[in-house]
Symmetry: C2
Amino acid sequence: MKKNGTLVFGLLIAIAMGACATREKNDNEPLILKEQGSFMIGGTVIQDSGVFNTNTPISPQGQTLHGDHAYVFYQIPNAPRHKYPLVFLHGAGESAKSWETTPDGRPGFNELFLRKGFPVYLVDQPRRGKAGKTTQGSTIQAIPDEQFWFETFRLGIWPHYFSNSQFPKGEAALNQFFRQMTPNTGPYDEKVIAEAMSALFNKIGEGILVTHSQGGGPGWRTRILNNKVKAIVSYEPGSGFPFPYGKVPSPIPSISPFGALTPDSIPMNEFMELTKIPIIIYYGDHIPLQPSKIWSEDHWRIRLEMARMWASEVNEQGGNVTVIHLPEIGIKGNTHFIFSDLNNSEIADILNNYLISNNLL
Amino acid sequence: MKKNGTLVFGLLIAIAMGACATREKNDNEPLILKEQGSFMIGGTVIQDSGVFNTNTPISPQGQTLHGDHAYVFYQIPNAPRHKYPLVFLHGAGESAKSWETTPDGRPGFNELFLRKGFPVYLVDQPRRGKAGKTTQGSTIQAIPDEQFWFETFRLGIWPHYFSNSQFPKGEAALNQFFRQMTPNTGPYDEKVIAEAMSALFNKIGEGILVTHSQGGGPGWRTRILNNKVKAIVSYEPGSGFPFPYGKVPSPIPSISPFGALTPDSIPMNEFMELTKIPIIIYYGDHIPLQPSKIWSEDHWRIRLEMARMWASEVNEQGGNVTVIHLPEIGIKGNTHFIFSDLNNSEIADILNNYLISNNLL
């Protein structure tokens, strides 16, 4: 069933590729917006005991702190051509920058989909980026770790890129890529993130949620909280796969320094929410199907495996989850940042075609 | 001389007000962009000693950390009508959000000036917002302090707004305003910020720098580093007024919890750079000219006083600095966030007229 779906899907892609010859031209045309703006959404308020006194303004007594909200920047094309906006949630150590201009200066998914006629919402999740105001403190350390991320994100094995890598070449692009990471300002909390995301959907109405990596976990939870999420697109979800109580698979061991991958468990009624919408999950290249001696490959092997187990479970309960391992449909060399790789406009077209085929436009 | 300048300026404003009757209409027209995007600029790289080993990827040995850059989001109108772009640098505890949609949802200076035909660059300074990756760690605390900022930013005396306040009314706006603060991820360092700003001007070429509050200090330093800064507009600079060695005034005492305001000192040759460009400084309402028993008013009294001393010193050396205390030209009720107050389109027109009168368009 899934195999057939993948084949049909591949055909759709092949057809679409031919129809997209005018895309390059469009990218140089003016971008015409009906509206753009930014706002904070969700979050909570804490207050110190006592009463504020203007004569002791440094004392926290009676003072408030609004924190744990998300920051959202949005753009609406002058003539939206689709019924649902796209809402983008970044992954670990990243901000909405993930979806903007690529490390080598090409349009990111924000602009590619804006030009396809979608309203686009870019989120900095609570305690990250412009949404740094947190109700819980933390310590930020400056420990060099970029070679570790180079490998985790499957650009290659440091200092070598994978020979077919879709990551843009050259020092300048790698410099931009390393700099787009930005730390948590407070503890990572999937629940806090999902609540802010749900508040966003309450504000903007029905839409399609696009997540990356660690954003996958709060993404599923957002749909459980809010049925205005009409579909989820997840690029390389890395954790937080929620199974129903009693049907939770064992952790999958790995030589990854992150250790084994342990699934989450949730009540069946919550799980059932995830069967009600189309969900598509994409993984890139250099993810083996068998255990690998290269830890970064093995790290993603267990995630692809878990994603497929999770998809089977959702589909068994009547859901509509598709997992696409891109090399299996002939698309090679993608890193963990599929949507900003050199072939990102092809990747965007593939997503667009998925949305068409699921009547989500 | 300055008095006359202020009068002539007031007249220019009065004339311009009449010419702006079509503005509201324009704000509802589509926004047409030639280009937009984002990038990281400036910063440094630190590296741990030793050699990276993929088998011990968690060890920092030999690994790098790219940090201390700025994040920049830019938009270029389809038909730019001016020779210089505007580069916006926020103040303490803020990000580029300061210049975006106002707390009550109106267009910020980013869009107001985009619609006037300026390319617009919005900066998150190093160690803030999306530019959070830092080469020096820090501890972020979650201490309630918003009533303190309500007063420091001259919205009123908590819980009362000043009766003529230009801050938008209602809980929703105040909620947005409190949430737009975001913490430093590393130590505040004016030099680090100025170096990233200078790198930005090297990338984009000549432009006009617009600063707010604490951004004033790194703003002056940016011009000292880089003569591509062709003018500086500073809204309520709060610290970092640089005087030449031997001409540094005494600190001005105040009942402000921030204490006395101490000027900076720099070599005369650096100071002379600041005499070469037009500089305009604006302060809002509720800043008395004599010591006040209201600490937040007194806090700004010494800043306005220092700004005027600094302007005199620069002008004495042949410079062109204007200080506008808005109530003195009949514009009342402005908070510390002049450019996002209810009258921000009037404030934008005033700036636009200043740029016209200084041949900066």
